[in-house]
């Protein structure tokens, strides 16, 4: 079902808060590494303080904006606007002394940090730099980058950047960077967006409106993942028979969970009908944290690649 994902350069994992987006990002990365791919797992956190929940899920040491190796094939980074700003100033100012003057200016730093559009720009710049980073032999250092987008309504802010930035600062290097970034993000050959949701009415409504936002911004939605679908213990006949009993004898214990199950089924049907992309439903798993990541990674099992593929052929 997710076969189309694995030959991309970047996977953007989006969704509202509390829907299991971060766990899904980690599980995709672990699955890709198991199949022999080299992966950069990136957290795009709006605030740079506080511990990284994504890093903790894969057992990464939180080294801020520096890429750290977690295990063979898996690298982790926490994208930071400040690192992007620094690279950007170095790359865009033609004269070295001018760049140094800019880097020393606290007022300029504060301005870049205080303006949301410029923060997003810094994050985008650092992301682009890492996606494009090559090894001495010319191949990409991180052929697959999996990016956990921020949970708030700003998940799409990066993609909406060009409009903002180009309105306010039409000329200059920022506009150019933003356009290049958008070229990558909108290219379905290189980028896939995954939408995450939960089988509840409100999260599904939010996922559907996020999907139409993605379409409006021309971002390639590749698939949606519905997390924590409760197990359905009924057959159609036994559900109907039980409903007749409950109608006669009133609610019993378990009817609350049953109502939740019915809501989940309706929400799943609504998401599947409203979405123009494949929908993968994941069961509710009792595990949490890194154990949950490993178990979800089993579900994805991408086709083997590289050394792993060769070993499998032997």
């Amino acid at each position: 079902m997710l076969a189309a994902l694995w030959d991309k350069r970047t996977l953007l994992v989006s969704g509202k808060g509390g829907v299991g987006k971060t766990t899904l990002s980690a599980a995709l990365a672990v699955a890709a590494v198991r199949s022999g791919r080299t992966v950069l797992l990136a957290e795009l956190a709006p605030d740079e303080g506080g511990p990284s929940s994504l890093g903790a899920l894969v057992g990464a040491r939180d080294a801020g904006p520096k890429v750290t190796k977690v295990r063979p094939g898996l690298h982790f980074v926490r994208l930071a606007a400040s690192a992007g700003h620094r690279h950007f100033l170095q790359d865009s100012l033609p004269l070295r002394w001018l760049a140094e003057a800019a880097l020393r200016s606290r007022a300029l730093h504060r301005f870049l940090e205080a303006v949301p559009a410029l923060r997003e720009m810094g994050l985008l710049y650092q992301m682009l730099a890492l996606v494009r980073r090559t090894r001495p032999d010319g191949r990409f250092e991180f052929p697959l980058c999996i990016i956990d987008l921020p949970a708030t309504g700003h998940a799409l802010a990066m993609a909406a950047l060009p409009r903002t930035v180009l309105t306010v600062m039409p000329g200059g290097p920022i506009g150019r960077i933003v356009r290049e970034g958008l070229d990558l993000l909108q290219d379905p050959a290189r980028t896939a967006v995954l939408l995450t949701s939960l089988p509840e009415p409100l999260p599904v409504s939010e996922a559907l409106s996020l999907a139409s936002e993605l379409a409006r911004l021309e971002l390639p939605l590749a698939a949606a993942v519905l997390n924590r679908m409760p197990e359905d213990p009924f057959t159609p006949e036994s559900r109907a028979a039980l409903q007749r009993l409950l109608d006669t004898h009133g609610p019993h214990r378990g009817t609350r969970a049953m109502a939740q199950l019915e809501r989940a089924r309706a929400a799943q049907a609504r998401l599947a009908a409203g979405l123009h992309a494949p929908l993968l439903t994941l069961p509710e798993v009792s595990a949490t944290g890194p154990e949950l990541v490993e178990r979800l990674a089993d579900v994805f099992a991408p086709p083997l690649q590289g050394t792993a593929a060769r070993e499998a052929l032997l």
Partner: protein, 374 residues
């Protein structure tokens, strides 16, 4: 007065601020509390940003009106005789609030028009972090000053952290930081002399290189026009802070029964204490902590007869009941832990999992009753 009820807060306070991360049902809780307070006889305003549309429909509201909309008395008191209370709801539009503020603070109507007509003003929400939060704070301050309501329930804007609302004025003042303003401030020639001019020229070169020529000039024009308002904005922010720190206000954290809830709850309580703001307690939302005291599914077996489908159905319901019991148990444990870490006078209440019922006004009434009674 039970220590586990929000009822006293609904009767005594002037402001209830509901904080919580996105997706925990904060807006619904705010609406339900507003309904309960109005039905208890108070004149109530619920201030909210960006609610779910179905909730707006349940309350019979237009989306983003320019003024608060009254909930009709026949809806508010649908199930009995009307009381003296009234409920207004305003889904505020940050743009409208901000524009009004500019008109109020600007020295002349021309000055206000110069700001609002500036090209950068259109992109202000992308330029300045926390505009939504700031607009909510500004609207709250405005209505408290006008004294039209006995209670204002503020649903803070959706955010990753419960405390973003409190940080917003700080973020705004960071944008208005004098160092940043000085980057784009009007060139003062006479007072500061040649050295200053040289520094500004250097800054201009760097900024032109970074942002492109033209932007710096526009920013200068905008900061020049906006600059006169900074003092007024700071004053409002400070006045509102003092009001929120008074015993007339109460902060509630709405949280969901997820594993991260405890950690977030403790952090919220400590941060409020550090800032001298009155912490009133927690609402554990969508919780199964309440015991409905229903019969067990096995009691249905005597009605099954020889219907194998019914037998299967009852067995399936038993499995669901086991899931339900386990979840209710964990929610009760979470509520107990929340109660343990409460300071004196604060409360932790569980809000029932109302599911799809909230699409109707009667669902809000029931949720409000459940919260007020405890």
């Amino acid at each position: 007065m039970s220590a586990r009820s929000l009822h006293p807060l609904l009767l005594d306070k002037r402001v209830l601020v509901l904080c919580g991360a996105g997706g925990v049902g904060k807006t619904t809780t705010a609406a339900a509390l507003g309904v309960a307070a109005a039905r208890a006889g108070r004149r109530v305003l619920v201030l909210t940003i960006d609610p779910a549309r179905r909730l707006a429909e349940a309350m019979g509201l237009p989306e983003n009106g320019p003024e608060p909309t009254p909930v009709p008395a026949e809806r508010l008191f649908a199930d009995g005789p009307p009381g003296p209370g009234q409920l207004d709801v305003w889904m505020l539009e940050p743009g409208i609030v901000f524009e009004r503020m500019i008109h109020r603070l600007a020295p002349t109507p021309e000055a206000a028009r110069a700001i609002i007509g500036h090209r950068i003003y259109d992109s202000l929400s992308e330029m300045v972090a926390g505009m939504q939060e700031y607009a909510a704070a500004e609207a709250l301050d405005d209505y408290l000053t006008r004294d039209r309501y006995e209670l204002i329930v503020l649903d803070t804007p959706p955010s990753r952290h419960a405390l973003d609302f409190l940080d917003a004025p700080g973020r705004l003042s960071r944008f208005l930081d004098e160092r940043i303003v000085s980057l784009f401030g009007p060139e003062e020639s006479s007072r500061r002399g040649r050295l200053w001019k040289g520094a500004q020229a250097l800054v201009g070169r760097v900024l032109d290189g970074v942002f492109g020529a033209g932007f710096v000039g526009e920013m200068r024009g905008f900061v020049g026009a906006f600059g006169g308002l900074f003092a007024g904005i700071r004053l409002h922010t400070e006045r509102l802070r003092a009001r929120l720190a008074s015993p007339d206000a109460a902060f509630l954290l709405v949280t969901s029964p997820e594993s991260a809830a405890l950690h977030e709850a403790a952090f919220f309580r400590d941060t409020l204490r550090e800032r001298g703001l009155p912490f009133a307690g927690y609402v554990l939302n969508r919780s199964w902590a309440r015991d409905d005291a229903l019969a067990s599914p096995e009691a249905l077996l005597e009605h099954v007869g020889d219907d194998t489908h019914a037998e299967h159905g009852v067995a399936a319901l038993s499995r669901l009941a086991a899931t339900e019991d386990a979840r209710a148990e964990s929610h009760r444990a979470l509520l107990a832990r929340l109660s343990e870490q409460l300071p004196t006078g604060a409360i932790a209440v569980a809000a029932p999992d109302a599911g799809a019922e909230l699409e109707e006004f009667s669902g809000l009434v029931r949720l409000g009753n459940a919260l007020a009674v405890g």
